[in-house]
Symmetry: C2
Subunit: 200 residues, 2 copies
């Protein structure tokens, strides 16, 4: 009645076990970060022996990389950058919030955020991704002397919001709905990225 007496050897039928392992890995890495997640834990969640994880992926690090499989392609960033500069904050906010509110993407992003703080390789990976793929294109689009720095401030706003909402879970931002989130983020981003407003 309980455990179906798991015997060694191939299981009958066709199940996407590899996929289940990846799902389990994503969940574990997202909720614990790279260091704290364990191959055995992933195997347990996937309902599988830990050696099978090694069989498919070789090492913990490779499971991690396979589980990430990053879902932001350059065209999306182009779509955000193009169009009316007066709406760039809103478009970027909507894009970011939609990424975070989609569970599979959120898991990947959380895994990255949770791992980047204690893993220099992860930091290097993010660094190598962010600058050419996000900072430079967006900065080119908005123009101005300190364009890159302003784009990075916008990125910082986004990263920090993710930390506050999903990692630290600070109230009230942890609980507001997606639409209110956009309403909060959009103006902040707009002021960083939009045409000069000469405020202060």
């Amino acid at each position: 009645m309980t455990a179906p007496a798991k015997r060694p050897g191939r299981r009958p039928g066709t199940a996407d076990t590899r996929g289940q392992i990846l799902d389990a890995a994503r969940a574990e890495f997202a909720s614990r970060g790279y260091e704290r997640a364990t191959v055995r834990g992933i195997a347990r969640v996937a309902g599988v022996d830990s050696a099978l994880v090694h069989h498919y992926f070789g090492s913990k690090e490779q499971v991690f990389l396979a589980a990430l499989d990053f879902p932001v392609n350059p065209a999306m960033v182009q779509d955000v950058a193009a169009g009316d500069p007066a709406g760039i904050g809103e478009r970027l906010a909507r894009f970011v919030v939609s990424l975070w509110e989609s569970p599979p993407t959120r898991e990947r992003l959380l895994a990255v955020v949770r791992s980047v703080t204690s893993n220099e390789e992860m930091a290097a990976l993010v660094r190598g991704f962010a600058r050419p793929r996000l900072v430079v294109p967006l900065a080119a689009r908005i123009g101005g002397a300190d364009a890159e720095a302003r784009v990075e401030m916008a990125l910082a706003q986004i990263i920090g919001l993710a930390m506050a909402r999903y990692v630290i879970r600070m109230e009230p931002v942890a609980s507001v709905g997606a639409e209110e989130l956009v309403a909060l983020l959009a103006p902040a981003l707009q002021r960083l990225l939009g045409p000069a407003v000469d405020a202060v």
Copy 2:
């Protein structure tokens, strides 16, 4: 010439060994985060047997807490909140940058940031600190309907900047000087916390 042949037993003279252990712990926790830092590593840096760390502090967690000893007192926040609302962004930016540019404080903050992502207890600690000590007082001061949410966006901007600059080390913000940092941060914070400007 090499190692002075360390024997067991109390060492002659008076050395602040406990303090050295705390320094080593701060350095280790700051650069690796809670999970990755090890009691043995701390002991090695302090030039001491790992059992001595346990002798003084009992457990790894208690070393961590002792190494933190948080240096932000409520009066500082009051100083930032008080005064001309038109200057609150600048005052807060200067305060934050001065914290991060002071090495001992930076180590403590980095330890927190590096640990909060993979340690729910740490997250709870930050949550319990941020809301009553920072969010509520500042929100009360600036007023308005969504004051708390706006304060948290400002906090998010600060947290995210710390991540970008010190953890991920994204260029250019990783390398700009303190004064330029203030110049970048101040307007962003001002727009979040200052009197309504009705932009967008």
